[in-house]
Amino acid sequence: MLSAPSLSYMLLSPMLIIFGAAVLGVLIEAFLGKTHRAAVQLTISIGALLLALLQLWQIKDMTSTTAAVNSVTIDRAGIFFQFIIVALALVAILLIADQDNFVAQASAVPGSTEEKIATQQRVQQTEIFPLVLFAVGGMMLFTVASDLITLFVALEVFSLPLYLLAGLSRRRRLLSQEAALKYFLLGAYASAFFLFGSAFIYGYAGTVSISAISAAAGSANDIFLFIGIIFMSVGLLFKVSAVPFHSWTPDVYQGAPTPITGFMAACTKVAAFGAILRIFYVGFADAQSLWQPIISVIAIITMIFGSVVAIAQRDVKRMLAYSSIAHAGFLLLGVISLSKEGLAASLFYLFSYGFTTIAAFGIISLVRDSTGEVSDLNRWVGLGKKSPLVAAVFSFLLLGFAGIPLTSGFIGKFAIFSAAYQSANISLVVVGVLASAIAAFFYIRVIIMMFFTDPVNDSVSVIIPSIRSRIAIICATLISLLLGVFPSLLLNASNSFANLIK
């Protein structure tokens, strides 16, 4: 006699709300007229995200390993990850709502009459909203998935919409499409590695449950564990853009529509690190002697490579892509720490980095000329004179990335370095510090370009942002500032939420 699986809907409700809203969004695409579609979609998205936040708040003290049989573990850290993702998505969706970043009709060939007509008719690509919601849902699931099947499914659920979203830029469509193609092919490639690794982990542990991997310690087939860990790592490290699995990052960041880049840069990182932390802390904790060396090597290479190559970038989005690579390296220190402090530090870091990132991409989307966004750094010269406020905010965000005190980035870095130091990875801290020094160079270079170089006679200007973008940028910046000055607001929370159920 088969009994129906027991699901605790309360605990799953945040994800269910998002997925439900996404499905609803698809239906609206199909049945609602063009005129109101955008407004309705935006309302539904924001509503769903807010509701999800509310639900997360409700369940913040509940934990369960059997929320959906054994496939999902809702624990403190999981709730926090989901909270970060939803909060970031909420800000990002406001940026995404600025439709003029997106192609009118994705299927139209670039430069064709079809496209022109679509543009003239002000056709809007409102399916972005359900796509984003699906991605958000997938990310949320990814951070709480506690078996290999759910992990893989969640990975694909959040990746596939992102592949599409990357290709929807209104301008420079060839680049956008290329970004989508690269992201898709490489993403799928990485998924295959992940899945292959999962298979071997399954072979090693005899079950797909993550928590069972530790239980299988001492099993004769260590070779399966080796292969499993390495191949799964490839898939996961790809998502966080760690070197040498980072190559998609600059291309996709540059090609994708800027609001999507912001969303992706912030949320994917949270989701991927959520999963990495869960898998390594819960599943592979006992095999640390095996994976800590390789992750350490990856972390070192990633920090240095990201920082060094960023110096040579001439495109602000690519520069931030390399910056995000470097930050992935810093975050890996949290993974390597394998301690409560490391987890708490990662939570804080992801939160603050996410908001800073979204705000930064929000600002990038404001700097334009007649043909659209200008991301060429040489044309940002003298921006401080043309619009001091925007330049000042962007400088502040860059300083945050650089980890100057009184910004949230500094506290994050401090927390994560402390955790790494505490777990006796002192050499990693030193490398991290040196990489930060290199990284500071290119952040500051941008500030110099904006403030200390006279503007060339060039038609770059800063558009007046819509109220939605303005809210998004202001919110994200304020959060970043607030966390820099009063980090306790979040640090205490991240400490108390730094708990993964094994």
Binding site: I404, F410, F414, F417, Q422, L434, F441, F451, F452, N492
Partner: protein, 501 residues
């Protein structure tokens, strides 16, 4: 809120209020800033008066939790060393403002921005000297870079943006190394006595030798860059040349003192054993700085570059005094910080006036100024004499104390350091001869002498230089208890004279 905290916050509050004045209302902004900083200076003198100079304990202590997760506190409090450095900062700021009244008008941004940056910097300067929490100190230490960076890059001359970034990157690099060490200390504290950033508690940690050495180096390199010690000095001449005279005064007069202050407060107090290990190396670097800075100063054609290199030489003396680990050396070094602050301030301000009048900073473009602009020339001369440590002027006492203190422990270093006084005569007298003496170089005939505002600005500095040369006791009384405490805590006692009394 303690008086100290109030004084620390005042500049920031003033900055906020000045930010509200409309940009075009230039004069009002300047006057308001001057009034505000003067009030701050007076309050800090009041602070000094109510300071109990017989105590070597921290005073005006204020402690509030800031980041509870890491047990970081907003914890302020001062001892004698901190107090005199705070006094130096608060007194120099109004002088700088008055002296460089129009300096802010040729910048990239408005005067208002200049003064807001300046006031912010003042708050941070007070904070950095008053912080009792290592983390808080670091925050001030790094945050100070930003206003200075914009002050150099936005209002400087010449190759200002390159100089500004060089300054910033050097400092950031040092700061990050220090961050690694701070983290190390923090973790060790959490393993031994429970996580804390309280400097007093951190000083009680027992750290194994190798770790201590590495942690020490992290701190030391940061401070050696700041101070700056050879071979970490190359940012300073560039920054000093590019910055406006006022900024240079604060940069060399106060900010760089954070480096030497940090050596005393952190390097020695937190890592006495490592300090001992590295002392020979540091003394060597200090001696090289003294001689090297002096030679380089002699070779400079640019007057600001010259003053910058003399400072490198002087910082060599200060560092030598600190690591001599004798009370004379320590007190001398502390006193030197103050004296160097004032005499360099005088030199830079006057050099600034000379440059703005002549439109050139090349020494050989001047000549015969003593006859054209006597007051300006004499002020420069007195400041220069103080810089070469003429007895009767302030720097002499500190330099001599440093040398005596060093001699009792490291005679060879002191002897080489003493040779520096000959070079000092050269690096001061050569520009004096070229710029002030000799026939009046064409183009200088109609230079204007100091006006009333400038005279009022420079008078207190000169007065301090002369007064402190004759009667350093008030300041030494503030410094002595603390420096003795530092030396004793580091496990040293003064060498006893070979012939007993």
């Amino acid at each position: 809120m303690s008086l100290l905290t109030a004084i620390g916050l005042l500049p920031l509050i003033s900055a906020g209020m000045i930010a509200l004045i409309p940009t075009r209302n230039n004069e009002l902004i300047k006057r308001a800033t001057l009034v505000a900083t003067t009030i701050i200076a007076i309050s800090s003198i009041f602070l000094a008066v109510s300071f109990d100079k017989n105590s070597d304990q921290l005073q005006f202590v204020q402690k509030n939790s800031w980041i509870s997760a890491f047990n970081i506190n907003f914890s302020l409090g001062i001892d004698g060393i901190s107090l005199v450095l705070i006094l130096l900062s608060t007194i120099l700021v109004p002088i700088v403002i008055l002296a460089t009244w129009n300096e802010s008008e040729n910048g990239r941004w408005s005067s208002k921005v200049f003064y807001v940056l300046l006031l912010t910097l003042e708050s941070l300067m007070i904070g950095v000297f008053a912080a009792n929490d290592l983390f808080l100190f670091y925050v001030f230490f790094e945050a100070m870079l930003i206003p200075v960076y914009f002050l150099i890059g936005g209002y400087g001359t010449g190759n200002k943006s390159a100089a500004a970034i060089k300054f910033l990157l050097y400092s950031l690099f040092g700061g990050l190394l220090m961050l690694a060490s701070i983290i190390g200390v923090y973790i060790i504290s959490s393993n031994q006595i429970g996580a804390t950033f309280d400097i007093t508690q951190l000083a009680t940690l027992e750290i194994d030798n190798q770790t201590e050495n590495f942690l020490f180096l992290g701190f030391f390199i940061a401070f050696a860059i700041k101070a700056p010690l050879w071979p970490f000095h190359t940012w300073l001449p560039d920054a000093a040349k590019a910055a406006t005279p006022g900024t240079s005064v604060l940069l060399l007069g106060v900010l760089d003192k954070v480096g030497t202050y940090g050596m005393i407060r952190f390097c020695i107090q937190l890592f006495p054993d490592a300090s001992k290990t590295f002392t020979p190396l540091i003394i060597t670097l200090a001696v090289i700085s003294i001689i090297y800075g002096a030679f380089m100063a002699i070779g400079q054609r640019d007057i600001k570059g010259l003053i910058a290199f003399t400072s490198i030489s002087h910082f060599g003396f200060i560092t030598m005094g600190i690591f001599a680990m004798t009370t004379q050396g320590m007190s001398g070094a502390n006193l030197y910080m103050i004296n160097h602050g004032f005499s360099t301030a005088a030199l830079f301000l006057i050099a600034g006036w000379m440059i703005s009048r002549r439109g050139s900073s090349t020494i050989s473009d001047f000549g015969g100024l003593q006859r054209v602009t006597p007051v300006m020339s004499w002020s420069f001369f007195i400041a220069g004499m103080s810089s070469l440590a003429l007895p009767g002027l302030s720097s002499f006492i500190s330099e001599f104390l440093v040398l005596v203190g060093t001699y009792t422990r490291y005679p060879v270093a002191a002897i080489i350091g003493t040779l520096g006084i000959v070079l000092a005569a050269l690096y001061i007298l050569i520009p004096v001869q070229k710029a002030l003496h000799g026939p009046i170089v064409s183009g200088n005939e109609n230079l204007k002498d100091l006006n009333l505002r400038e005279k009022i600005a420079i008078a207190p500095v000169i007065l301090v230089i002369v007064f402190m040369g004759f009667y350093p006791k008030p300041v030494l009384d503030l410094i002595n208890p603390t420096s003795e405490k530092v030396v004793v805590n580091a496990g040293f006692s003064d060498p006893i004279a070979k012939v007993g009394k």
